[in-house]
Amino acid sequence: MSTLHAQPESVARQGLMERLHGWAITVDHKRLGIMYILSGLVFFVVAGLEATAMRMQLIRPLNDFLTPQGFNQMFTMHGTTMVFLVGMPVLLGFGNFLIPLMIGARDMAFPRLNAFGFWLFLFGGALLYFSWLGGDGLYGAGGAPDVGWFAYSPLTSKTFSRGNSTDYWILGIMVSGFGSMTTAINFLATILCMRCPGMTLMRLPLMAWMMLVVAVLVITAIPVLTAAQVMLLLDRSLGAHFFDPQQEGSAVLWQHLFWFFGHPEVYILILPAFGFLSEIVPVFSRKVIFGYPLMVAATVAIAFISLGVWVHHMFVVGLPPWMNALFAASTFLISVPTGIKIFNWLGTMWGGRIRFETPMLFCTGFLAMFLIGGLTGIMLAVVPFTTQLSDSYFVVGHFHYVLFGGTVFGIFAAIFYWYPKATGRMLDERLGKWAFWILLIGFNVVFLPMHFSGLLGMPRRIYTYQPDRGWEIWNLITTLGVPIQILGVALIVWNMVRSLGKGRVAGDDPWDAWTLEWATSSPPPEWNFDRIPTVTSARPLWDRKNPHDPDEEQP
């Protein structure tokens, strides 16, 4: 082991180029996880700027800050970036960083495949953004994709989408999708095969359980999107007729294939955040998670049902009523396991000695905001309600409460919770609390009014509107919330940069937590654990800290 311990000193002596080279060739799951998260955060800032441009355009009626086509490009790039280049890489990055540490392994099952997946994702993202330069193609028409993140046919056909912008959308997402699929293979193989002695499936940290289920969803859903994108590419490049109405091709088939991917994708984006909460809430409530087996069962149930709800995105397409009714029913059904989870977290907090440090604040914010998003989701599962409000700002408000108030709040909770493990330094608590409250207020100022403008009939994706519709005040409030949100995010970024050098030294286990990642040093050595641990319960560090009172296994 002495030779291994000599390694960090030689690293410290390296120059900048050598260190960058070290990151470029690494197959270490922790470095890859950090690179996933950081590149995701860069794309997060870019997507935020795109959203800001849209809100600038909509601040008042008949504004001309953006051209109509520029507005279309902004919402397409914003949506595509947030889903594929922010949500997935950041969440998969946390999985990468944490899974081997949590299950007591030294790396992922396939480290080189892991590195390959990361570089595929980054290349896919670069390809999508290269469309600003190369999307014009031979026709001199295009620029960035402007077909919306779900790229409905026949708008994506060669007739209506000239130039190469849609091809960049297809290829960029397809390539980064290959990256996600390799990561899913790695998650499954790592969690199933690399667990340390004693780590049975029912002692697995819930974060790892959620990632296992997410990997199954990635394997199920992304290939169907890839197939649909290949069909679109054949249509556009080789003159096939999959989605060509003139040859009786069907625009509805694209919608079915896309949403068969699209709805599980929503759960791919939220389940890891559920995992973060299931780790953080117990530690900051000083209690065991309430109903561990039920939590696992609910996750599996959500994944299973999520494969059968996609038509609720298509209620206004004109499908047979029995089909709409069936999918409305399955959509109601999926709220049951989701509700179970919310009650489990509340049950964990109930009667606990709650410490409201920043990670816990973000978790509490998550619970409240996600609940609102969940309730508007149940409203939108009602077919006649959706008939009225489909493609309105009500829907935009709904999914931002789920994906921003849910997923992004979960990501910030995770950043505050695991930053000490990744860097060895604590994030500043005072800055963190300020960031949380500013972000919570800014978030609600931006997204709550969208429900009202939606109820008043404002459709999504319009680049401007007439002054006599009663929408002005809600749009004005929404846009005024944007700088508040920017301030909140800027505080978090500043905190992350500043604490890298100036943060309080964290030590191995700053939160007095119970899972295995806190048993090794912060940051962990390249090989994670000097000795592979052996566990006897779901809270190995509790057992180690309280040898007189170890966790009892439930029969």
Binding site: A109, G249, L253
Partner: protein, 199 residues
């Protein structure tokens, strides 16, 4: 420092190679499901001919299918021979497998040649051409990838680089892929040549 930990008896831990290959096969299955659904969705639709029942011939395809299905059994024999250390038998069974797979690809080529040059059916002719060539073509592409993998193993065998203790599991995993290509063909055949030709 070994990455491998001894698997204790407390919990089920499959081999990572098996899990990895199973995941790959699952993903490929969903990919093909997309194209099969598209084919089924578009049966009988389309603005112009030629139509499937005018141009598709089942009999030669049945013979090709028999070759592909037989190759699944010969590859099993080859894996078993490697496991027992019978390297010569392993090479012969594997060569036969590759031959049967190549026969299938040749059969696809003959069929496509007829469709393209005699019946004028291409990817861009109509919906039938679009869905037929993409589904059957992606399957043929997977057969070719499988043939490349099997040929690599045969090459290693001929050079005497295979070690039964080390390589039997690896070969078995590649054979899983080959079986998968075979099973997909059963679904493709059912879709295109049975359901698609129903009067």
């Amino acid at each position: 420092m070994s990455l491998a930990t001894a698997a204790p008896a407390d919990s089920w831990r499959p081999g990572r190679g098996k899990v990895g290959m199973a995941c790959l096969i699952a993903m490929e299955s969903f990919f093909f499901a997309g194209f099969i659904i598209a084919y089924l969705f578009y049966i009988g639709k389309g603005a112009t001919g030629p139509w499937p029942r005018e141009v598709l011939e089942v009999k030669p395809v049945l013979v090709n299918s028999a070759a592909l299905i037989a190759s699944s059994f010969t590859v099993i024999a080859s894996v078993k021979a490697l496991g027992r250390g019978h390297l010569a038998a392993m090479r012969w069974w594997l060569a036969l497998t590759i031959l049967l797979g190549a026969w299938f690809i040749w059969g696809t080529w003959v069929e496509w040649r007829g469709l393209i040059w005699e019946h004028g059916l291409t990817l861009r002719t109509n919906l039938f051409g679009t869905t037929f060539y993409s589904l059957v073509g992606f399957h043929a592409f997977h057969v070719i990838v499988g043939l490349l993998a099997l040929s690599t193993i045969l090459g290693l065998g001929v050079m005497g680089r295979l070690r039964p203790a080390r390589d039997t599991l690896r070969f078995e995993l590649v054979s899983w892929y080959w079986h998968f290509v075979d099973v997909v063909w059963v679904f493709v055949f059912t879709t295109v040549y049975i359901v698609g030709l129903r009067p």
